[in-house]
C-alpha cells in the first residue's frame, strides 16, 4: 500500500509540471498589456520599459517561465501587480474560503444527491424515481448563477432570512463557525451544490439499479438477508464509484465557482480569478490557476487511494 501510494505521488510530478507550463503559456499568449492597470494613461515610454524590466516581461517567455516555476517551487508566486501584495498569501486566503464553500456545497450535494439516487434506484420506474430523476436533470441544467440570483431575491429581498452577499458580518473579515458567519455561506453553498447533486443522484441511481440487478443480490436473499441487510451491501458496492464522482465534483467546484462567487461576492479563488482577469494581473492569475490545478491533482490522488482501499478488486500493483 505504501509502495502504491509513493508511486502514485511520483506520477503526479510530470502532471504538475505540464499543468504549470500550460497555464503559464495560456496566460502569455492571450492578448493585452499586463501593466495597463497600474500605469497612468499618459505614462512615458521610459517608465513603461522600466516597469517591464522590473517585472521581467521584457525577457523571452521560456526564461520567464523557468524563473517563475523555480520560484513557485519555493512557494514564491511573485507579487500581484494590482495590489502589490505577494500572490501566494492572496491565493491561500482565497483558497481557504473557496475550500470551505466547496466542501459545504459538495456535502449538501452528496447527501441529497445520494439520497435521491438511492431512492430512485431502489424504486426504479416508479413515480418516486421519475420525480427524483426530474429533479436531478433540473439540477444539472439550471444555470447556477441564475439560480443564485433567484435565491437572493427570494431569501434575502423578500423573506429577509439570509444575507445576500459577503462572507461575514464584518464584510470579508475573519471567519468563525457561528451562525452569524454560517448564514452567509448557506445561499452560495446551496447554489453551488445543485450541479453535483444532480450528477451524484444520476450516478448513484444507475449504480444502485446495476447492483440490484446482479446475481449476488439473489445470493444474499438466498441466505436469508432482509432488505436492510441487502441495503448495506448495496451501499458498500456503490461507495467507491460514488466517492470518486464526489471527489471530482469537489475538484470542479474548487476551480469552477467564478460565477457563483462573483454573484455572492464570496472572497474565494473564483472572485480572485475574476478580478485578476479583469485587471490583467498576470502573476496573480498564474498563481491562482497553479494552486487550483494542484488541488485538483491532489484530490484525484486522494480519490484514487480511497477507492483502492474500498474496492479490493482495483489492483494496487
Amino acid at each position: 500500500m505504501i509502495f502504491y501510494l509513493l508511486r502514485r505521488i511520483v506520477y503526479t510530478i510530470p502532471i504538475m509540471i505540464g499543468v504549470a507550463f500550460f497555464c503559464f503559456l495560456l496566460v502569455h499568449i492571450s492578448p493585452g498589456d499586463p501593466l495597463v492597470s497600474i500605469l497612468p494613461p499618459d505614462a512615458s515610454i521610459e517608465l513603461q520599459k522600466q516597469l517591464m524590466k522590473l517585472y521581467g516581461f521584457d525577457r523571452p517567455w521560456f526564461e520567464q517561465f523557468a524563473t517563475w516555476f523555480w520560484r513557485a517551487l519555493h512557494g514564491d508566486l511573485g507579487t500581484s501587480i494590482a495590489s502589490g501584495r505577494p500572490v501566494a498569501a492572496e491565493v491561500m486566503r482565497a483558497v481557504g474560503n473557496t475550500l470551505m464553500l466547496a466542501c459545504m456545497a459538495t456535502l449538501i450535494g452528496f447527501l441529497f444527491g445520494g439520497l435521491f439516487g438511492f431512492v430512485a434506484g431502489y424504486f426504479r420506474d416508479s413515480w418516486v424515481d421519475r420525480i427524483a430523476s426530474a429533479l436531478s436533470v433540473l439540477g444539472v441544467s439550471v444555470p447556477h448563477y441564475w439560480l443564485g440570483m433567484v435565491l437572493v431575491i427570494i431569501f434575502s429581498s423578500w423573506l429577509m432570512w439570509l444575507p445576500a452577499t459577503g462572507a461575514g458580518p464584518g464584510g470579508s473579515g475573519e471567519w468563525a463557525w457561528d451562525w452569524a458567519h454560517i448564514q452567509f455561506m448557506l445561499l452560495p453553498a446551496i447554489t453551488m451544490s445543485v450541479i453535483p447533486m444532480g450528477i451524484i443522484a444520476r450516478t448513484v441511481r444507475a449504480l444502485v439499479a446495476d447492483i440490484l440487478a446482479q446475481e449476488f443480490v439473489v445470493g444474499l436473499r438466498a441466505k436469508g438477508l432482509t432488505d436492510l441487510g441487502i441495503f448495506m451491501h448495496v451501499v458498500k458496492n456503490a461507495a467507491p464509484t460514488a466517492l470518486a464522482v464526489m471527489g471530482l465534483q469537489l475538484g470542479y467546484l474548487l476551480g469552477g465557482s467564478i460565477l457563483v462567487e462573483t454573484v455572492f461576492s464570496w472572497p474565494g479563488t473564483g472572485l480572485l480569478l475574476n478580478s485578476a482577469i479583469f485587471q490583467r494581473d498576470l502573476p496573480l492569475l498564474q498563481g491562482t490557476i497553479l494552486v487550483l490545478a494542484t488541488f485538483f491533482v491532489v484530490l484525484n490522488l486522494l480519490v484514487d487511494v480511497l477507492q483502492t482501499t474500498l474496492d479490493p478488486r482495483i489492483q494496487r500493483s
Partner: protein, 353 residues
C-alpha cells in the same frame, strides 16, 4: 446412519402441482406447468433438462427467489414442514439459508465482490444465530476445512476474485452449509468449472450429503454430472417433469422419447471419428403459448395423432419410475434395439455402479 430410517417417512421437500408464471413481458410466460416433486431426507434428486425447461425456475421457487411483483407461483411447496408459499417476508428470510440454502452456478457472480468470503459466511451465520463474531468465524473456519480448502485461515480473508474457480465453488458450498440446512439446492454447481474440478466438486457434494444427511436437489443439463450424485432423476421439458425414477432405472430403461434423445445427444463416450453427433431436431416450444397436447410432440420421432390431443398423464412403470408419454412402449423398443446394436449405453452406467 439414522437418516436412512427416516427417509421412508414423510418427504422433506414436497412440491405439488407447481405452476410459475412470469408477467414481466408482453405475454405471460408459463415457465413451470404443474411440477410434482418429492425429495426424501438424505436423498439426491437431479432435475435434468435443457435451457428453458423450467428446472432452475422450479429450484428457485423452493426459496421463492423470483421477483415477487412479476411472478405468480401456484400450487404447494412444503419444505421441512414449512408451507413456503404462505410464509411472511420475515419468516421467509428466516427460512432461507437455515432450512434450505442454495449453491449457484457461478460463485464469482453470486458472492458479493467487496466482502471477503469469510465475512460473508460470518454474516450468514450471525443472521440466523445469536453468536459472537469470533465464534462465527471459528465455525466458518471449520466449514472451510470441511469443504477441504487448503490453508483455510488465510482463504477466509480472501475476496472472491482472489480465488480459483474450484476454490470459489467450495467456498460457496461452505457458505450454503453455514447454518446447517436440511435441504441443499444446487443450481448447475459444476457448469462453470473445468472438467477435473467438476469431478472434485461432485465427489465433495456426495460426501457432504452422506455425512450431513442432506437432501439435495441438483439442477443440471449434464447427464454425466447427474449420474455422479443423484439417487433419482427427474427429466424436465417445457416446465413439466416428463420422466422420473431411480437413476439406474432411467438411464438403463428410459421410457420417454425426450430422455432417450438427451442420452443419444451426449458427446462423450461412444463417439467414433467422423460420426455425426446426434441432436434433437427443432426447438423447445414457446413458453408463452404452449401446445394443447404433449409439448415434445413436434420434435418426437414416435409422435401419433393422440399425442396432439391432450397432455399425457404420468404412466407408472413400477419402482417409482414414471413417464408422461403415450408411447412408452415405442421408446422401450428403441432402447432394446440400440442396446442390441451397440453396447454403448452401458458407458453411461460406468459411474453408477
Amino acid at each position: 446412519m439414522n437418516t436412512a430410517s427416516r427417509a421412508d417417512s414423510a418427504p422433506i421437500v414436497s412440491v405439488r402441482d407447481l405452476r410459475v408464471t412470469f408477467n414481466g413481458g408482453k405475454k405471460p410466460v408459463s415457465a413451470v406447468n404443474g411440477v410434482d416433486l418429492s425429495v426424501a431426507r438424505g436423498e439426491t434428486v437431479a432435475l435434468i433438462g435443457e435451457s428453458g425447461s423450467g428446472k432452475s425456475v422450479t429450484l428457485r421457487s423452493l426459496l421463492r427467489l423470483h421477483p415477487e411483483r412479476r411472478t405468480r407461483i401456484e400450487g404447494r411447496i412444503e419444505v421441512a414442514g414449512e408451507d413456503v408459499l404462505a410464509l411472511g417476508s420475515r419468516a421467509l428470510a428466516d427460512y432461507r439459508g437455515r432450512v434450505a440454502s442454495m449453491i449457484f452456478q457461478e460463485p464469482l457472480l453470486a458472492l458479493d465482490p467487496v466482502y471477503t468470503v469469510g465475512q460473508q459466511i460470518v454474516e450468514s451465520i450471525r443472521r440466523h444465530e445469536r453468536i459472537s463474531p469470533a465464534e462465527a468465524r471459528k465455525r466458518a473456519l471449520e466449514l472451510f476445512e470441511r469443504v477441504r480448502i487448503p490453508s483455510p485461515e488465510r482463504r477466509l480473508d480472501a475476496y472472491p476474485h482472489e480465488m480459483s474457480g474450484g476454490m470459489r465453488q467450495r467456498a460457496m458450498i461452505a457458505l450454503a452449509l453455514a447454518c446447517r440446512p436440511q435441504v441443499l439446492l444446487a443450481d448447475e454447481p459444476t457448469t462453470a468449472l473445468d472438467a477435473t474440478v467438476q469431478i472434485q466438486i461432485l465427489l465433495l457434494l456426495r460426501e457432504l450429503q452422506r455425512e450431513l444427511g442432506l437432501a439435495i436437489v441438483f439442477v443440471t443439463h449434464d447427464m454425466g454430472a447427474a449420474v455422479e450424485v443423484a439417487d433419482r432423476f427427474a427429466v424436465m421439458y417445457a416446465g413439466r417433469i416428463v420422466e422420473e425414477g431411480p437413476t439406474r432405472e432411467v438411464i438403463r430403461n428410459p421410457r420417454h422419447p425426450y430422455t432417450l434423445a438427451l442420452m443419444q445427444a451426449r458427446a462423450d463416450g461412444a463417439m467414433e471419428k467422423g460420426a455425426r453427433l446426434a441432436s434433437i431436431p427443432g426447438a423447445p416450444p414457446d413458453l408463452a403459448q404452449l401446445p394443447t397436447g404433449c409439448a415434445f410432440a413436434e420434435r418426437c420421432t414416435f409422435v401419433q395423432p393422440a399425442c396432439l390431443q391432450s397432455r399425457p398423464e404420468a404412466v407408472e412403470l413400477g419402482g417409482g419410475h414414471r413417464a408422461r408419454c403415450l408411447r412408452t412402449d415405442a421408446t422401450a423398443q428403441a432402447v432394446a434395439q440400440s442396446a442390441r446394436a451397440t453396447a454403448n449405453t452401458s458407458i453411461l452406467l460406468t459411474e453408477t455402479a
